[in-house]
Symmetry: C2
Subunit: 336 residues, 2 copies
């Protein structure tokens, strides 16, 4: 700007106002300034603008893992939403690690993002304290905390798990291995509730020896099933597996395949999320359809609204309904 001002022969302020397209500037000088800007390859400095003004036109997305197809879709929904309104996006993976979550929040606060979309991977709601102390607008997405008055958008995990479990029970399965996600987040907690609820509704007893935690990726599913199968097929004390995600189910299916366990004839499988490949897996995967990208879009929109209004509007909490998708992986032969 200084250079432009010198070239055109005006003050820096005039340049600023010309570039911002304010009024009270003569068309002549404005034109000259714009030309000079082009000639000098002027590029706005968002750092200076952010420092001077009070917003950076940047938001942060803090998720466990961008390569997990579920979060990839959520991120995409956020990105397209905020980009349309001129916001940039800072991405942080936490790898379900509380320490990394803390670091990510600290980082984005230091970067003075205008708001944060966060998918927490732990149970301790104190992780939100920093955001709150700094009065940074934020929205939880896909995971939330119980009894806390913050904005979030999630899907109904309790219902989803209930429906899936109910379906497996209807298929004649009484012992259903639950490969749940990491123990702390609401997603895993709520699904455990749904699973228990379905068992109870059907008069089945809950056995926590066939509930495992920590299955987030395909490798996890693969590893867990492989470990089970090491003790021999006869030792399997379940007839169905309810996976935390289709992503996990992929690993589970791979493990069964390698060990010659037939799905669904020997063991039934259900996933979660309805990822794009699930209908062409071998066999096609029964799953729960979640509006993944929509989660991101809604989260983005809530955040943008928060940033705009700045006031503490009434808290927005949205719970989207999932939908059971029954496919071959859970169907007894006689039902196919």
């Amino acid at each position: 700007m200084k250079d432009i001002a010198r070239v055109v022969g005006v003050s820096v302020n005039t340049v600023s106002r010309a570039l911002a397209d304010k009024d009270d500037i003569s068309d002549g000088t404005k034109q000259k300034i714009l030309e000079a800007a082009k000639k000098l390859k002027y590029t706005k400095n968002h750092l200076a603008m952010g420092l001077r003004g009070k917003h950076t036109q940047t938001i942060a997305v803090i998720v466990p893992e961008n390569s997990n197809p579920f979060f990839a879709e959520v991120i995409k929904g956020i990105e397209e939403t905020v980009k349309a309104r001129g916001y940039g996006l800072i991405l942080c993976n936490t790898e379900q690690d509380p320490e990394q979550e803390k670091q990510a929040i600290e980082l984005v606060l230091e970067k003075r993002v205008d708001g944060v979309i966060f998918s927490p991977a732990q149970g301790d709601k104190n992780i939100l304290q920093q955001l709150q102390e700094h009065e940074k607008p934020f929205v939880l997405v896909a995971r939330y905390f119980k009894n806390i008055n913050v904005n979030y958008v999630v899907s109904d995990n309790l219902l989803g798990a209930f429906l899936i479990t109910q379906h497996l029970i209807e298929q004649g399965h009484h012992r259903i291995l639950m490969l749940n996600g990491t123990r702390e987040p609401s997603s895993a907690r709520d699904r455990l509730e749904g699973y228990k609820k379905a068992l109870k509704a059907n008069g089945l007893t809950f056995d926590d020896s066939i509930v495992r935690f920590g299955a987030m990726e395909a490798e996890d599913g693969y590893r867990m099933i492989k470990a089970d199968l090491k003790k021999g097929r006869a030792s399997l004390n379940f007839s169905a597996v309810f996976c935390f995600s289709d992503y996990v189910a992929v690993g589970v299916m791979k493990a069964f395949q390698e060990e010659g366990v037939a799905v669904p004839d020997d063991i039934a499988i259900a996933g979660y999320d309805d990822l794009f490949f699930s209908s062409v897996l071998c066999p096609p995967l029964t799953t729960m359809r979640i509006p993944k990208r929509e989660l991101g879009r809604i989260g983005g929109n809530i955040l943008l609204k928060l940033i705009k209004s700045k006031k503490s509007d009434p808290v927005i909490q949205r719970v989207l309904k999932p939908r059971l998708i029954v496919r071959g992986s859970s169907l007894k032969i006689r039902n196919r």
Copy 2:
């Protein structure tokens, strides 16, 4: 800092130096300053630091689509690499749109990122001009431009396509439908070359009526095959499909499945990228294994090196070798 300085009774500069852990500060004052910083919830301002210093500790990643599992892996590789060195990451999706590419580059220049990792989706190398004019360090990843002296890390698409096509030919296929990616990027161009080369090596003639462009996602593959099948199964004038990505292959398989076309017995399919789910598709997918995350890691490391040195070091251009993974989707029954 001003507040801390007032509380402790020192100058702002002293505060700055204490927080930066410089020497020539007495332990006493340093301690007092750190305490006051904590008490006042001081948070570094990266905007101011970036404005004053000459780096922002932020890099940009500009890719076609973060939700595409291939790029999701690349992004992950980049993220983990740069995070380890204290860099933040700005993510931009371009959706293969030259206009969005231009906007993304402009945006990240305005944000004064220290460097850019870019996966261009068009053939016009002028898109790099802005980056070069601003002397912004950048690395191309997964796609490059011919005859241009810039840093990149890619996989050998010509070789990959050659090997896949060769394999399909060996399986007895003479007419292989190529569902290529968008026409412009090097990935699609090189694979077309590899495809042609394999045909020629086997004395087959190239027929551009069975080469399609624009297949990037599952939906694209689905749509294209569905359109073909609308004219009736008898009209199919190919016996194998070589998809731009396993992602595309998922859609292709879904379309065939819906229309009762058996894979591989009626039509063989090969994908590309070896995505995590490909081995448990129905049937398991023949594909080309690409070190996706490694592409990101290497790209990130090159960029960081560039940022450090700042000098125009010798250009780094890495071409990673792919590996053919043969699975059921391409095997004639008698070969299984």
